[in-house]
Each structure stands twice: as structure tokens, then as C-alpha cells.
């Protein structure tokens, strides 16, 4: 359907940002504008739902000859965009009080709205050219949010973010240029069979690698992730939540588009192009699993709670990317992987935002981010504690919370990938998946335990509960987490199923049936799946989920009792150390050309 709504979705926050300048001094006016324009964007997106279900909503503005700024909203884009706008609303409500402790609120709100606009722009863009323009906006506008405090760690984190962003977006641009010159089009859709046949395999791999690595910078893929634990924790908490929960999804969404749409052959048999696709998928799985595993180890030994959450963001992105990879690896039968990835994008957005907001509420009252220095705040901040507990259950994949459904689907995707090719590395990946899930469980429950249980340090005896707007934000996310956890099929039926339909998956395949039967798994463990060949897989899923929880609980107990979490990896052993160091070395001499090289 031809409609200008996608354009307005992007324009509303931009106009809102400039409207902020009308009354610079009034806090109420600013808050109203920020919450109002993100809500308006959300409503506009919601109004697209019916037309998107019938096909897609698109809109084009002619620009350069041969290029148009096009918008095209399909079900998957709409889903992620809706979640993004939803996050922005609640985080804006939360920041009404939170930001009273910060200076320069006008700048914060201004760039927050611009970030929202470009983030939504990435999700509703109709071609890679438009997407790239918004993606570059997403590179610049969050900078003032990250560097908000203007102290050394903030500027350092923001600089890392910027340089990694510039470098990776150039890779993305190179990939786009190759795509444009070889396929003649930048539309976000499958390359047509004739064009695909004319492109050599090497070019396809080049394009795929450049674009995946290009988007991966924002998504925090392994070897491009090192900016994330530096940049996300230093921002004000609502901004951390938005960056960690919404913005990195733009990267994951880009990878999803490249892997699950661009290179998916239209119809056809399982030869030739499918082979390219499944190779791309295979390596995406590997990268995803490395990302999830290393990040969770770092998260386990982190002491700064926001830093820990940032590592979990990387780890969860690993899950998502692995799901995307499975979808490509399985080819026509990959619905299960794509569904898991999309579902996890939504779930991660919700629980990660809730976690950040909870930690932020504690920080707001105690001014302490080191979780080992906190404790026993359950009595002081009961609402925060409950909301954080719900979020912790969500991220850990506890049944009846939202993470369980998506993690089960993703787990199914990885075992199906193994069954598909009987590749031993994928068997290992499946074990890594379980261990990571256990680590996530241990790490997040440890966070909850250290903050809210145990002994309360003296100075926190009269900590007040979180203020109302912050509670509203946290409760909003908790309700969403619980809702999705209790009714996992709702999202699958309303959004993810329709989103998968145009992606070229064989709807009769195993994946689909299983997806729609998650309800069966959750509503009662006794009701077994009636299918024949998948029966063992379902059992395997449930069994592995159980193992993960038991392992996680054991790790938590042992870790707290025997101080495993105090183990510090020597810095020279970590990848981040070298990445940051190399970048610093690269940049250092050039900016000290005046000869004053000594450090202060």
C-alpha cells in the first residue's frame, strides 16, 4: 500500500527535536514533547499494522536520478520498529525523574529524539541506500548521549563507539557499492534469479561479508564488540537502556536483512545459491556462538552492574545472530531460526531495558554501580526488586517468562542445524548454547542477589524507593515480559508468523509446526508434542533447557560460595585489551604532534 506514514514515523521525532528549542527552559514542555513524539511515532507505526499484514506499506521520495529515498515497512521491520518506539516511550517516562540529576537535559532530549528518528528510519527503510543514510545518523546522534557526562570515561567510550562505527559503516558502504554495481539494485529483497546467476560466488561472499561485518559493528559481533562495554555503561541509564536494548538491534536487523532476505533465492531447488546461503549461514552461526560465549564469561566476572549488562547485550546478540545463521544454514527449512532470532530481538529489547532501568533506579538512589558494594535493598525498593527479578527471569530463560520461548526456539534451530548437516562444530555450538544459557542465569541471578538480598551496608539503611515515573517505566517492561512469557503464541501469530511468510521458507517444513507449538511446551510440560520425527527434538529442547537452568543454579551457588566470580582474567589475555590498545596506539601519536607526548 502506498502511504506516507512511514515517512512521518521518521519525521515526527525530528520535528519534535526541533520543537524542543521553542521553550528551552521548561522541563514539563520538554518531557511532554519527548514522550509525545515517541508515542505519536508508536501510534503511527501501529496504524500501519493492517496494511502491513496485507502486504507492505511503502513510500518513495525521488532524490538523485536513479535513486529514491524509499520506505518499505514489512512485518519484521514493523515488529522491531514497534518495539523500538515502545522502548523509547517507557525510557522517556523513566528519564523524567532520572535526568533531574544530570545537566544539559535539552541536549540529551534533542539527540535522544534524533536517535529515535534515525533508528526508526533504519527499520522502515525500503532500500539499503536509505537504510545507510539513517544508519549514519545512528552513528552520530547517539554520540552526545554516550558522552553526556563529559568526563574521561564517557568521552573515551563515545570515541570508541564513533571510530568503530565509522570504520564498520565504511565496510557496509563498500558492500553496498558492490551490491549496487553487480546486482543493479539496492532494494531490500531477494536478488532475482537471473541477476544472482550472473554474479560470481566470490562476489556474493564479498558482499555478504562486508555487509555482515558492517552491520555487526553496531550489533556488537565478536571482534567488533569492544566498544560496547565501554560505551553503554557510561551513558545516563535511560540512554544505556536505549542503546543496549534498541539501537544495537538496528545492527542485528541489518544482518537479518542481508542473510535472511538478500541472499535467499526466490523459490528454486536446494542447489547453487542455497549452497552459498548455507555457507554464509554456517559462518554466521560460528560468529554468533563465539560472541555469546565470550561475552557471557566477561559478564560473569564483571563488577560494575551496567558493564555486566552491556556484556550480556553482546551475548544475547550472539543468540540472535546465531538464530539468523541457522535460518540461512537450514535454507528452506530455516523458519525456526528466523523466528527465534526475531522473537529474541523483541524479548531482549524488553528484558534488557528493564534490567538497565532497574539497575539505574538503584544507582539513582544509592549512587553505586558496583554490585558487590550493594545488598539487601529488597525492603527499601520492593517494586524495583520485583521488576528486576522479572527481567532477570526473562533473560535467564526461566519458563513462563519471555526469554524461555525464544531461547527454546533458538535451541531448536541449532539442534535442527546439527541434524541437517551433522557437522560436529554445530554440535559444539549447541553445547556452547547451553553453557551460555547457564552463565546468563548465574550472572543475572547473582546481580539480583547481590543487589537485593544479603546484608545491607549501613549507609543504605534509609534508601528511598524509586520515584513514580521510574516505576512506571520499569513496571511497563515487566508487564510486557510477563505477558509475552505467559502467552508466547500471541507474538508468533500476530507478528512473527506473517513476518516469516515472505522470506522464502517452506511453510510445510518442520520449523513452522514447531513454532506454533511452543504453547504446548510451556503450558504444560506433560503434554507432549504429537509429531513423530520432532518428538525427540522437543524432548531435547526441554531437557537442555532444564540442564541449563540446573547448571546455572549450580554455577551461581558455587560462584558465590567459592568466589569464582572474583577470578580476574589477566588483561593481556583479553581481546578487548588488544583492540582498545591498538586503536589507542593508532590514534595517539597523531594527536600529540606538538611534541608534548608525556602523559598527564
Amino acid at each position: 500500500m502506498e502511504t506516507s506514514i512511514p515517512l512521518w514515523v521518521v519525521l515526527v521525532p525530528i520535528l519534535g527535536a526541533f520543537a524542543l528549542l521553542i521553550k528551552k527552559e521548561s522541563d514539563q514542555f520538554r518531557n511532554a514533547i519527548v514522550i509525545g513524539s515517541s508515542t505519536l511515532s508508536f501510534i503511527l507505526l501501529l496504524s500501519l499494522y493492517s496494511s502491513v499484514m496485507k502486504g507492505s506499506a511503502h513510500y518513495a521520495i525521488s532524490w538523485l536520478p536513479g535513486f529514491e529515498i524509499t520506505f518499505n515497512v514489512d512485518a519484521s521491520g514493523l515488529l522491531v520498529a514497534l518495539v523500538t518506539a515502545f522502548l523509547w516511550i517507557l525510557c522517556s517516562v523513566y528519564s523524567v525523574t532520572y535526568m533531574t540529576h544530570e545537566k544539559k537535559r535539552l541536549r540529551y532530549d534533542f539527540f535522544s529524539l534524533l536517535t529515535l528518528a534515525t533508528n526508526l528510519g533504519v527499520l522502515v527503510a525500503g532500500d539499503f541506500f536509505t537504510l545507510f543514510i539513517f544508519f549514519e545518523g545512528l552513528l552520530i546522534f547517539p554520540y552526545p548521549l554516550i558522552a553526556h557526562k563529559e568526563d574521561a570515561p564517557a568521552v573515551k567510550g563515545a570515541n570508541l563507539y564513533l571510530y568503530v562505527g565509522v570504520a564498520t559503516s565504511l565496510l557496509l558502504l563498500s558492500g553496498m557499492v558492490l551490491l549496487k554495481s553487480y546486482s543493479g539494485s539496492l532494494a531490500i529483497q531477494s536478488i532475482s534469479p537471473e541477476v544472482a546467476a550472473s554474479m560470481s560466488t566470490a562476489i556474493k561472499y564479498q558482499i555478504a561479508i562486508l555487509m555482515i561485518v558492517g552491520f555487526g559493528g553496531k550489533a556488537g559481533l565478536f571482534f567488533e564488540h569492544f566498544w560496547l562495554p565501554e560505551a553503554h555503561p557510561v551513558a545516563p541509564t535511560p540512554a544505556s537502556a536505549l542503546l543496549s536494548a534498541a539501537m544495537i538491534k538496528a545492527g542485528a536487523y541489518g544482518i537479518f536483512r542481508v542473510v535472511n532476505l538478500l541472499f535467499v533465492p526466490q523459490g528454486g531447488s536446494m542447489t547453487g545459491d542455497w549452497l552459498t546461503l548455507s555457507n554464509i549461514g554456517y559462518w554466521t552461526i560460528i560468529i554468533g556462538s563465539i560472541t555469546m560465549f565470550f561475552a557471557v564469561i566477561s559478564a560473569l566476572i564483571a563488577t560494575n552492574s551496567k558493564r555486566m549488562l552491556a556484556f550480556h547485550s553482546i551475548s544475547q546478540m550472539g543468540y540472535i545472530v546465531m538464530g539468523i545463521g541457522c535460518a540461512a544454514y537450514l535454507g528452506q527449512h530455516g523458519a525456526v531460526g528466523a523466528a527465534g532470532a526475531l522473537y529474541h530481538i523483541v524479548n531482549h529489547a524488553l528484558f534488557k531495558a528493564a534490567l538497565f532501568l532497574g539497575v539505574g533506579a538503584v544507582y539513582f538512589r544509592t549512587n553505586e554501580l558496583d554490585m558487590y558494594k550493594l545488598g539487601g535493598l529488597m525492603k527499601n525498593m520492593p517494586v524495583t526488586a520485583i521488576c528486576l527479578f522479572i527481567a532477570v527471569c526473562g533473560i535467564s530463560g526461566v519458563p513462563f517468562f519471555n526469554g524461555f520461548a525464544s531461547k527454546t526456539i533458538l535451541h531448536h534451530a541449532i539442534i535442527e542445524s546439527y541434524e541437517h548437516g551433522h557437522d560436529m562444530t554445530l554440535w559444539v555450538v549447541e553445547k556452547i548454547f547451553i553453557v551460555t544459557a547457564a552463565g546468563t542465569f548465574a550472572s543475572n541471578f547473582k546481580l539480583f542477589y547481590l543487589m537485593f538480598r544479603g546484608n545491607r551496608p549501613k549507609q543504605y539503611d534509609d534508601v528511598a524507593p524509586a520515584p513514580l515515573p521510574m516505576k512506571i517505566g520499569m513496571i511497563g517492561f515487566s508487564v510486557a515480559i510477563l505477558f509475552l512469557g505467559l502467552f508466547p503464541n500471541w507474538l508468533l501469530e500476530t507478528a512473527i508468523g506473517p513476518a516469516l511468510a515472505p522470506l522464502g521458507f517452506d511453510s510445510g517444513a518442520d520449523g513452522y509446526r514447531l513454532i506454533y507449538d511452543v504453547q504446548t511446551q510451556i503450558s504444560g510440560l506433560a503434554i507432549l508434542y504429537p509429531g513423530t520425527e520432532s518428538f525427540s527434538m522437543v524432548l531435547h529442547n526441554l531437557f537442555s533447557g532444564g540442564i541449563a537452568l540446573v547448571l546455572g543454579a549450580g554455577l551461581l551457588y558455587g560462584g558465590l560460595k567459592y568466589h569464582w566470580f572474583n577470578f580476574r582474567v589477566p588483561t593481556f589475555f583479553t581481546f578487548d585489551f588488544y583492540a582498545t590498545k591498538i586503536l589507542r596506539r593508532l590514534l595517539n601519536p597523531w594527536f600529540l604532534a606538538d611534541g608534548s607526548r608525556k602523559r598527564v
Binding site: A154, K156, N159, V166, L592, S596, V600
Partner: protein, 514 residues
């Protein structure tokens, strides 16, 4: 379609007439400046009046002197010349406003000479843009060199003379030693030195000769600042900032890129270039310059010098566009003349504005400057976006065309060079913006924690100490006069607008490929 018209003559000679008025009004500064402004506006409108004709696909010609029948001195206005001419005319207006603010705030001497030489340089620039053959172009090319010399050596100090002489030696030397033989050789073998749409060089003569003449052209056009013939450009930074703007955005270096594009497109022609593989050779030289100049830029701490090296690098973008020999690449190269001009002039205006306000010229002293001079640094930030090539700034569009062009030409390594160069651009421009806005100023007390291990540690303490030595002269920094700030805001906005509506430029270029 060629049409005889007097408009090119008007556009070229208005500044020459204006320069006479400037001399007459030398006793009354206000009237003198009014003369300059009027001239600038008149010339801009004269150039503008040719736009509809050029867009309609006409090529305006005018023969001035034909004392040598086969090589008449005359004018020919096509799309390439039009872009160059209109950019020069428009930026001259802004530069004039800026010069008034800058020269008066600093109480510079010999202002009449300054404005006079400026006007004559513009005369020569428009002449070069609308030249009909290499002879005319050569005359104006040399005229630009001669009349910018007093501007470069404006301060008349020992250093200014030395650097001015270097400037003159490089530009005159290369053109005398290499360019004249190349032009003569072209005339000898092709029988003409006119610019035509498909080139004039005969295909059937000895390959070595053709390549030799081409190499002489490249070496002879010193204004394009190929490494290693670039060092006149950073040296000329001794001049007052409006002159730097003139050199970098309005006239001089653009003439260099323009001449090289003329040689590639209108003398050799794309077919012959492809046949001789000259495109690749040019691209290699250009890419070497792009990367090396960027590295030099990172190493320089002087703001103007850093921007100057950036120009050396960016000029080669334009040449690279031509050297790719694909329509898209050439589009990108030509477009980059305009995109680069507006971004670079903004950067220079900002550097000058900072100098006027603070007397600071080193990158390492500019922490926290953005809080004191928000407009200047915002403009600087926009120009930086354009330099790195981030939408919606203008530099993105030309970079995009260049990249598509290199993919079309199957030269992947140029794609890598372009991407690397953009990254290097970010490395040397972004910290200025970031430190300007987000680092505490050196004039404010610095706590131990702030001065710690930042990714880009700058010697805060040392700079603060030097500031104390200056007697804390720069404590109350604020934006300089409107004459300085307004032009740089306008150029920054134009740079953005060109990025969002590049169609006009594309239409000009389109007329070349009909």
C-alpha cells in the same frame, strides 16, 4: 549545440573592471569593500545568467582574439566549466564578507593590494573555467599563480617571503618545464588544442609519445598537488585565512583538478585513456596521494596545515573520479569539486574564526572551544561530516558516485582506498569537533581524574601551562563579528543542501555526456 554569446566575456571581465575600481577607492576602505562586494555579486549574476543556456544543452562560445587563427583566445562554457565557475563565483561573495570581518578584526596591512589581487585572481579563475582551449587556459592558469603570490606573501615577513617563493617556484616551475611542452606536443600531434567532448588526441601515433605527453601534463599541472609536488600547498598556509580559502576552495587547487579533468575528458578522451591504460596509472598516483596526504594531515598539529593536507588528499578524489573513466566516476569527480569546495571553505573559515577569537592555531589547544564558539564549531562539524562523507552532507554524494564508479571500473582497490581515506579523515577531523564540544577547556581548572587515560590523551597540563604563560589572554573567548560567523554558517548550510539536493550539479554534468 554551440551558441555565440557575450555572456562568458561579461562574467570573466567584470572582476577585472571591478579591480580597477578597487584601486581607485583605495583611500576609502568602506567604498573599496563595497566595490569588491558589488563586483562579486555582479559576477555571480553574470555566471548565473548562463545557467539556463547550459542546462538546455547549449555550449556558449565567444572568440575574443584570433590573432593566431587555429588557436583563438576565447571562451567556451560547458557543464564542467560551469560547475567550477559558479562555485568560484558564489564562494567569492562569501569570502569577501569573511575577508572584511577577518582583515578588519586583525588590522591587517595592505588591504587594497589584498582586495585588488583577489579580484584579479577571480578574473583569472573565471577565465580558466570558461577557456576554450589550452592556450587560453594556460594564460589564465599562469595569471592565477602570479596574482595569488602577493596574497600568499601578504605578511611580508621573512617566512612569508620564503614560503611565497616556494609557492611561486613550484607552480611556475612545473608549468614552464612540463606544461608548455605538453601543450606544444598536443598541438604538434593533434593539430589543435581545443577542448572537445571526445578528445582530440589522434589514436594512431606512437603510444610512448601519447603516454609521455600525458605524464608531462600531470607533472605540469602543479596546482593539483600530486605527491610529491604538493609541498607548495601546506607552505602557502602562511597567508591570511581568506587567502587560504581562496587557494583551497575558490580558485587555485580547483583549477588544478579542473585542468586534469580537462586533459582526461576533453584532450585525451575516455576511449584513448582506456586504450592506453592511463586511467589506472592516474588512479595509482591519485590513491597514493590520497592516503599519504591523510597520514601527513594526522601528524600535523597546526589546524590550517592539517586542513591543507586534507585538501591535497581530497583533490586527488576529483582526479581519481576522472581516472576511473566511467561516467559515474567522472560524475563523482566533478561533483567533488563543488562538494569539497564548500566543505573546505567552511573549515578554513572556522579555522580563521577560531584564530580571530582566540589567536590559537594548534589543534591541541582547541579543547572546549565548542562551548565558547558553538556556531563556528557546529559549522566545523558539518564540514567534517562532508569530508568523511556522512549523509546528508555533500561529501557523501560525491563519495558514493566515486565508489560506484570504482566498482563499475572493476578497480576494487580504489574502493578500499576511498574507504580507508574516509576513515583517516574521521581520524583527523572528528577529534577536533569532539574535543571542542566534550572536553573541558584548558583555561578551566583540570581535575586529576579528567586528565586520565582518555582514548586521545592530550597534554592538558602542558597546554594549560602555556596558556598561563600567555597571561591567560584567552579567558573571555566568544564568537567574532557577524561578518566572520555568517559566511561560515552559510557555507556549512550550502554543504548540507548540496548533499540533499545534488540534482543541479548532476544536470550540469549531464550536459557533458550528451
Amino acid at each position: 549545440m554551440e551558441v555565440e554569446s557575450i555572456k562568458p566575456l561579461l562574467a570573466v571581465f567584470i572582476p577585472l573592471i571591478g579591480s580597477a575600481f578597487i584601486l581607485f577607492a583605495r583611500k576609502k576602505p568602506n567604498i573599496r569593500e563595497l566595490c569588491t562586494l558589488t563586483t562579486a555579486f555582479l559576477m555571480f549574476f553574470a555566471v548565473l545568467s548562463m545557467v539556463p543556456d547550459v542546462l538546455a544543452g547549449k555550449t556558449l562560445t565567444y572568440t575574443l582574439l584570433a590573432f593566431w587563427p587555429s588557436v583563438p583566445i576565447g571562451f567556451r562554457v560547458d557543464g564542467l566549466g560551469m560547475i567550477f565557475g559558479i562555485v568560484a563565483a558564489f564562494t567569492w561573495i562569501l569570502t569577501t564578507f569573511y575577508s572584511i570581518g577577518y582583515m578588519r578584526s586583525l588590522n591587517e596591512h595592505a588591504q587594497t593590494r589584498f582586495y585588488f589581487c583577489f579580484a584579479v585572481t577571480l578574473f583569472a579563475t573565471e577565465g580558466a573555467a570558461f577557456s576554450n582551449n589550452w592556450f587560453t587556459l594556460f594564460l589564465f592558469y599562469e595569471l592565477i599563480t602570479l596574482f595569488t603570490y602577493p596574497l600568499v606573501a601578504h605578511h611580508e615577513t621573512q617566512e612569508a617571503w620564503e614560503k611565497g617563493n616556494k609557492y611561486l617556484a613550484y607552480l611556475l616551475g612545473t608549468s614552464k618545464v612540463f606544461l608548455i611542452p605538453a601543450v606544444l606536443g598536443t598541438y604538434f600531434y593533434a593539430g589543435s588544442i581545443d577542448f572537445t567532448s571526445n578528445g582530440i588526441m589522434p589514436h594512431d601515433i606512437d603510444k610512448t609519445l601519447l603516454i609521455g605527453i600525458y605524464v608531462f601534463y600531470l607533472a605540469g599541472i602543479g596546482k593539483v598537488a600530486f605527491m610529491p609536488l604538493h609541498s607548495w600547498l601546506p607552505a602557502s598556509m602562511i597567508a591570511p585565512t581568506p587567502v587560504s580559502a581562496l587557494l583551497h576552495a575558490v580558485a587555485v587547487v580547483n583549477t588544478g583538478a579542473f585542468c586534469v579533468l580537462r586533459v582526461i575528458v576533453n584532450i585525451y578522451g575516455i576511449d584513448l585513456m582506456q586504450k592506453l591504460d592511463l586511467g589506472v596509472v592516474t588512479a595509482i598516483i591519485a590513491c597514493f596521494t590520497i592516503i599519504t596526504a591523510s597520514i601527513y594531515a594526522m601528524k600535523s598539529n597546526n589546524l590550517k596545515e592539517r586542513i591543507a593536507y586534507s585538501t591535497v588528499s581530497q583533490l586527488s578524489y576529483m582526479v581519481l573520479g576522472g581516472a576511473l573513466l566511467t561516467p559515474t566516476g567522472i560524475r563523482g569527480g566533478i561533483m567533488h569539486i563543488a562538494m569539497h569546495a564548500f566543505a573546505k571553505i567552511t573549515l578554513f573559515f572556522c579555522a580563521g574564526s577560531i584564530y580571530v577569537a582566540t589567536r590559537k592555531s594548534n589543534v591541541s589547544e582547541l579543547n572546549g572551544i565548542g562551548r565558547k564558539m558553538p556556531w563556528t564549531m557546529a559549522a566545523f562539524a558539518i564540514a567534517t561530516l562532508s569530508m568523511v562523507g556522512i549523509p546528508p552532507a555533500g561529501g557523501f554524494v560525491s563519495k558514493w558516485y566515486l565508489m560506484i564508479g570504482s566498482a563499475e571500473a572493476d578497480e576494487f582497490w580504489t574502493l578500499i582506498v576511498l574507504a580507508t581515506s574516509a576513515l583517516l579523515n574521521a581520524f583527523y577531523f572528528v577529534p577536533i569537533v569532539v574535543n571542542g564540544f566534550f572536553r573541558p577547556s584548558d583555561d578551566e581548572p583540570v581535575s586529576e581524574a579528567t586528565a586520565g587515560s582518555v582514548l586521545i590523551p592530550q597534554s592538558v597540563g602542558a597546554a594549560a601551562a602555556s596558556n598561563v604563560a600567555n597571561g591567560g589572554a584567552a579567558v573571555s573567548i566568544r564568537e567574532p563579528s557577524l561578518f566572520v560567523v555568517l559566511p561560515l554558517c552559510i557555507t556549512a548550510v550550502v554543504s548540507m543542501v548540496l548533499g540533499m539536493y545534488p540534482n543541479l550539479l548532476l544536470e550540469f554534468i549531464g550536459t557533458m555526456f550528451r
